[in-house]
Symmetry: none
Subunit: 192 residues, 4 copies
Amino acid sequence: MSEKPNRKTQIIEVASKLFFEQGYHVTGIKQIIEAADIAKGTFYSHFKSKEELGLEWLHQTAQKWIERKLEYLSQFEGDPARKLVAMFDFQAQGAEACRYRGCAMLNTLSETPDISCPMRQAIREYKKGGLNFIQSLVNECLPEASEEDREQRAGAIYLLFEGATVATQSFCKTDPIEIAKKQVVKILAEKA
Amino acid sequence: MSEKPNRKTQIIEVASKLFFEQGYHVTGIKQIIEAADIAKGTFYSHFKSKEELGLEWLHQTAQKWIERKLEYLSQFEGDPARKLVAMFDFQAQGAEACRYRGCAMLNTLSETPDISCPMRQAIREYKKGGLNFIQSLVNECLPEASEEDREQRAGAIYLLFEGATVATQSFCKTDPIEIAKKQVVKILAEKA
Amino acid sequence: MSEKPNRKTQIIEVASKLFFEQGYHVTGIKQIIEAADIAKGTFYSHFKSKEELGLEWLHQTAQKWIERKLEYLSQFEGDPARKLVAMFDFQAQGAEACRYRGCAMLNTLSETPDISCPMRQAIREYKKGGLNFIQSLVNECLPEASEEDREQRAGAIYLLFEGATVATQSFCKTDPIEIAKKQVVKILAEKA
Amino acid sequence: MSEKPNRKTQIIEVASKLFFEQGYHVTGIKQIIEAADIAKGTFYSHFKSKEELGLEWLHQTAQKWIERKLEYLSQFEGDPARKLVAMFDFQAQGAEACRYRGCAMLNTLSETPDISCPMRQAIREYKKGGLNFIQSLVNECLPEASEEDREQRAGAIYLLFEGATVATQSFCKTDPIEIAKKQVVKILAEKA
DNA sequence: AATGAATGAGCCTTCATTCAT
DNA sequence: CATGAATGAAGGCTCATTCAT
């Protein structure tokens, strides 16, 4: 029942912005506490390490994006094919909104070479969820297709999505998303 | 045309390994000079800043990968469609070899939020070259297709490639590359 | 006469272990409260400062060791010379039990340069008591000897005891205690 | 041939003073660099860690005290018994000069519970040397005595020395040294 | 070219203590 | 009594860069 948007939440919000905009490693605790206007000790009474904050950030970011995506797609309830295409519109909006900073998850993936660290696991989990989501929509679209076929299509759509994310970030324009979107339409229209 | 594998080259080689394996920001000058067994001043007599080294690294990495790719694909000379598919085999090899550390360019893209900094430009340039390369192969494959169609196909293949890169890195397995490869075959087989 | 082994007692017990094993300065309040499983505020409701706890620790440690020593020596009731020798057996037992961590008092002496701080006074008091104890045993042993002579013997035995403590700690073996013990026998056997 | 009392030497000198007067753990790098009037980075270009400095300090302190002791005792060349007694005069001088701060080695012993850390090893080495020195003097004094007897006497003298060190520190007066000195005379006069 | 000492802001984290609840 | 958030100085250490040699 706690209503108060407590200090911890505030720290995470401040850090989220900085981590995303600047990168995880390049953002120091000092900058975070100054932006949050708290003392250093206060930070460490809420998080036992920078990594714990990073993890929290990834978890909350994941949840936030999933919610936003679902909300955006809710306007196409009952039309899974339309949803699959709409995902790319949603992506384009986000890309421009953040001025081509890309995906927090993929960016952090790049910053964490240790494949078994907690942050990597969180990223993997999130991405697996994204793939599963696409898979379920594809399954809805093509209930008659073979599982193998559906996995190929879902996989390809997922890759187009990821590709569009990084290409948009690379080129600072949303053209790749348009390409991806068109391709998704084709993929869904393919004959078995 | 300089023959002597001079100090500068050696520094770049050492730094390349560290930048790629660990990340750009996380790798310090101290670590580089220790690995290269040179003094700090020596480093700065060759590079005026860490960023200059980073830039050089990106340039050389770009060149190296382009050469390797071309060499790998040379076995399929005269068969552009085969080449397009083979690019993914080449990718799979690299992914495993570097233990899923991904693409140096995309990783560095994540670490450089400033979209107009020199390193970002180098990355953009490299990626543009990659897309162009695919485009020219697609053009060879489908000389009769419309330009618009060829751009869509090349673009999609490019996005599948990028998507496969980051998905492979995310999941630490090459399955996504297989998916991408199969999709490329389909794309090239599509009717106009 | 308080019966309940209250919170305060528990804190002191936990702190005693840590202070002794690790050292006074190196042991933080955080570690103590975590080991005691209490909140920070709880700690400060029982002790107004770390130093107060340190003082309490020294007092209780003093009392504990005095009690243990007396209990150990009680088996030789009526034989003061035997007691003086037995003190070194008692010392050897303790040295091995704490894996050559030495004497809490002397260790803390080293950590408190300010010769007039309360903790130093507590240590001084304890050590004075130790010397007095030896003196009284020596007096019992040699009632006929001059006071000067008895003081010299007691003092020497005391120094041998302290020396054996730190030498045992230095070398991580109890050999010095054996040397000291033999010397004590000689000292008690000396002719006036 | 380097004459310049370089920065490193200066840092060690400053740190030696602080480590001895205040204790090793309680003395921070910040205090050292401020006292030495250098930048933090400068410190770390000379020492790779605080522990390395601590080790250097112990080594140099050991050497310094050995030299001073030998020099002091050189006035009694040819009279080993006199030397053994003079050691305690030397000790008394030192004790007063440092205002009963005790022995840097024993103090640091108290601060380093880890019996296998480098600093502990340095302390052990130094103390072993001290004992050996006494042993050789005793051997000179009593060439006819059995080895066992000489070891007992040397050991006892060593323990009296250590005991006098810590007792003087405990009580802030040199009386214990007088006691020890008298006892040494007795020990050397004992019949086999 | 090459050296490595020097800089000082910054890194992440812990310190002992206070205080409102 | 008990809680744990808040403080900010300090902990040991690294950063990229400069510069005199």
